[in-house]
């Protein structure tokens, strides 16, 4: 299998998407809201449908805005249902996103005669196709780069998320671990929550539109959970999660190129498997390795470390 410029761009786009998600994912995992990415990526359907019905075109900016608004609403409704109804947070998330999805489905079917829009096209953006959509061709030292749209969009999202995490690090940390303490210190935990959820919604929508929902859902949770097994310090955890996410993206694309060959597929078949799927799987492999081998919280050290210590005495 040869490596083309396209592969480089796929990996870059993958890394950008993975890092954007992993940055925010740390706080979702700590707040026990890991499933938010999954919920939002299903729930945005009515936003897409309404944006389409209003403008009558598949213009990506209005669709993006529609989806992002409904994404934020998902977080708001979840908060309402769990607070006013005293319902378990996971359950309220499930109720909200299934209801919104059903609503979106109804809207789409009503307009189905002239709509080129179905549920699966929401769920599967294709990272393999991102390099084809070139928006910018800068020339650096004579070499012309074909920068894809997804790379530009995700760079912006990634930068915003990074700035958010850096500038609000203290507030995020306190509200994630002890929201009551945060309130007594004059930090509005509610506002932080909604700000975080807004960014999660925007990141989710931007990333799944570019590269598919599965990368988003996986990268919001898995690298952060892996990093959580490796350290007790939030700063280190965020750094590790970013590195793990990038690593998973690189490994994901490499395995996507090679694994089908091992399984007996003709190597000449291009895109024999899904890069985004393999990126999620690689994130899972990294998690599994960490789960067993982590220096302090790994299963192996827990099982056998104790025996050694007992013998040493």
């Amino acid at each position: 299998m040869e490596w083309y410029a396209i592969d480089t761009w796929i990996v870059i786009v993958g890394i950008l998407a993975a890092v954007s998600c992993a940055l925010l994912g740390n706080f979702l995992v700590l707040r026990k809201m890991s499933m938010m990415g999954d919920a939002i990526s299903h729930a945005v359907l009515p936003g897409l449908a309404i944006a389409f019905l209003v403008t009558g075109a598949r213009a990506s900016l209005t669709m993006f805005i529609g989806a992002a608004v409904v994404g934020v609403l998902t977080a708001v409704f979840t908060q309402w249902v769990s607070r006013f109804g005293k319902v378990d947070e996971g359950a309220s998330m499930g109720i909200v996103f299934t209801t919104l999805f059903a609503l979106g489905l109804l809207l789409i079917v009503q307009a189905a005669d002239h709509v080129d829009l179905d549920a699966s096209c929401v769920l599967y953006g294709a990272i393999e196709l991102t390099p084809l959509d070139v928006v910018w061709r800068p020339s650096i030292f004579g070499a012309i780069l074909d920068v894809p749209r997804a790379a530009v969009v995700l760079s912006i999202v990634c930068a915003v998320n990074l700035l958010f995490v850096v500038f609000f690090f203290k507030e995020l940390r306190i509200t994630s671990f002890d929201s009551e303490l945060a309130t007594t210190m004059g930090i509005n935990a509610n506002w932080m929550h909604y700000l975080l959820m807004t960014l999660v919604a925007i990141t989710t929508v931007a990333a799944f539109e570019a590269v598919g929902s599965i990368i988003v859902i996986a990268m919001l949770i898995v690298p952060a959970a892996t990093a959580h097994l490796l350290t007790d310090r939030l700063g280190v955890m965020i750094l590790l999660s970013v590195i793990l996410a990038a690593l998973a993206a690189v490994l994901g694309h490499i395995t996507a190129l090679f694994v089908p060959g091992w399984l007996g597929f003709d190597p000449a078949v291009v895109d024999a498997t899904s890069t985004s799927g393999m990126m999620a799987v690689m994130a899972g492999v990294l998690f599994a390795i960490t789960l067993f081998c982590a220096p302090r919280y790994g299963i192996l050290i827990k099982k056998f470390g104790r025996i050694d210590r007992a013998e040493a005495k």
Binding site: M35, K86, F101, A225
Partner: protein
């Protein structure tokens, strides 16, 4: 659409829709039942994880089927594959949760995304297989409600009966698992086995339902009816029954409406009907609904205000000195009562009006001066007595300093029941036999503002 059409569909007389309606009702009841357990285990999103985790199994089953020389599209075989990876997914969630510091929600998210990622990767490979006709494999499994056949009905019936029978036989065990896992473990119950069994049942329901009605509907069926039922009762058996009924009714109404009105997908309608049930229950549910809780809170606030008012009046009169029959009744100026606590004029007037309506106080000059009636004296003595009994108890048993006991007593005394008062009386009687229990003397000096 004629009225007779509506009747025909709703009462299952229409042959074309009968099957769909019955199947969704069965599935709704089975999911409602399982969802009740999941909700109490705080694992409502397990259905989400499970239904995504079935995808790799379907693809692998298809691949194996093709390798064995078939078309790969044998339904039982594909369902078997789905079940296997579904169970594996559940096992992985339990393993991650039990063996590491990762919490339930993250464990479910990890399994969901990784399994689904593997599924997507495999699905892409499957569709590119040289000699496999995998087109439509996904929709073959993640079906649409309107296209149900008789075999779906039998599958759903068998699964529903299994779920029902096992839930009834293992009701006590599952209940213990839901409410106090640690206790169950200490009692020697096979907690892990029960957990796996519960998940196995959920998997069976999910897999059976997935190919009949689709992913989102299953997820909603496993969460929404149970969450709606929770507002109506605190008893597990009633909640499960209600949850199954809500699931069944959502299926019935949703599928019927979809059959009557063109261009209305049944799955989406059922989800929306269930969501409607949820919102209705959330507001008017008689046990934990929003309205009930607001009313309860208002009532509590009112009764606390009434007790504060009566005790304030009693203590003011008590300071005048006790006669032979207790306190001497006289008119108390409004300002003096107002000075007893940090309450506003408006609050105090509201409480006074309530007490007046109950016949506990008489007022002169529009609340300028307040006089306790005979019934009021009795009630005030009772309230003060409870307060002081509780204070004495706190001092004796909870080692709280006399100087701050008033505050602490205040936090609890309003919810003392009759049994609790009787218990306090007996405890304190043995402790301080000399003390009169009519209305004990306050253990701390009484100051305005206490």
């Amino acid at each position: 659409m004629e009225f007779s059409d509506i009747i025909e569909v709703l009462f299952l007389r229409n042959y074309n829709t009968r099957l769909v309606v019955i199947c969704t009702m069965l599935l709704g009841s089975a999911c409602g039942l399982m969802g009740g357990f999941l909700l109490l285990r705080k694992r409502s999103l397990m259905g989400d994880t499970l239904s995504h985790a079935t995808l790799p199994g379907v693809c692998i089953a298809f691949m194996v089927g093709v390798l064995l020389g078939g078309t790969g599209k044998s339904l039982p075989f594909l369902l078997l594959g789905a079940t296997v990876t579904g169970v594996l997914g559940c096992a992985a969630v339990l393993f991650i949760r039990n063996q590491s510091r990762i919490k339930d929600d993250a464990a479910m998210g990890i399994v969901l995304s990784v399994f689904f990622g593997a599924g997507v990767a495999l699905l892409t490979m499957v569709t590119k297989m040289p000699d496999g006709a995998a087109a439509g494999l996904e929709s073959f499994i993640y079906g649409k409600t309107a296209s149900m056949v008789l075999s779906d009905f039998w599958l759903l019936t068998v699964v529903t009966i299994c779920v029902l029978v096992l839930s009834i036989f293992l009701f006590k065990e599952f209940r213990l698992l839901c409410f106090d896992e640690t206790y169950a473990l200490a009692q020697g119950w096979p907690v892990k086995f029960l957990d796996v069994l519960l998940f196995g049942l959920v998997t069976a329901v999910t897999v059976a339902g997935l190919q009949a009605v689709g992913l989102i509907l299953i997820i909603a069926f496993l969460i929404t009816p149970a969450a709606a039922a929770r507002f109506w009762t605190d008893r597990l058996d009633q909640m499960l029954l209600l949850s199954a009924v809500i699931g069944g009714i959502s299926g019935w109404i949703g599928a019927s409406v979809s059959a009557l009105i063109p261009n209305m997908p049944a799955g989406a309608l059922i989800v929306l009907v269930a969501a409607g049930c949820f919102v209705f229950s959330m507001f008017v549910g008689v046990e934990r609904g929003v309205l009930v809780r607001v009313v309860r809170q208002l009532n509590l606030k009112r009764s606390v205000g009434r007790q504060h008012l009566l005790r304030a009046l009693y203590e003011i009169l008590e300071a005048d000195g006790l006669g032979d029959g207790g306190i001497q009744i006289r008119a108390v100026p409004f300002r003096q009562v107002r000075g007893r606590r940090t309450w506003s004029d408006r609050q105090l007037k509201r409480y006074l009006r309530l007490a007046y309506n109950e016949g506990l106080v008489e007022t002169l000059n529009r609340f300028d001066e307040i006089v306790l009636t005979e019934a009021g004296v009795e009630a005030a003595a009772q309230v003060t007595r409870n307060h002081r009994l509780w204070e004495l108890y706190l001092i004796e048993y909870a080692d709280i300093a006399a100087s701050r006991v008033d505050r602490d007593a205040d936090a609890v005394e309003h919810v003392l029941g009759e049994k609790m008062v009787a218990l306090l009386e007996s405890k304190l009687q043995t402790l301080r036999p000399a003390e009169s229990l009519a209305v004990p003397v306050s253990p701390h000096p009484i100051q305005p503002g206490d």
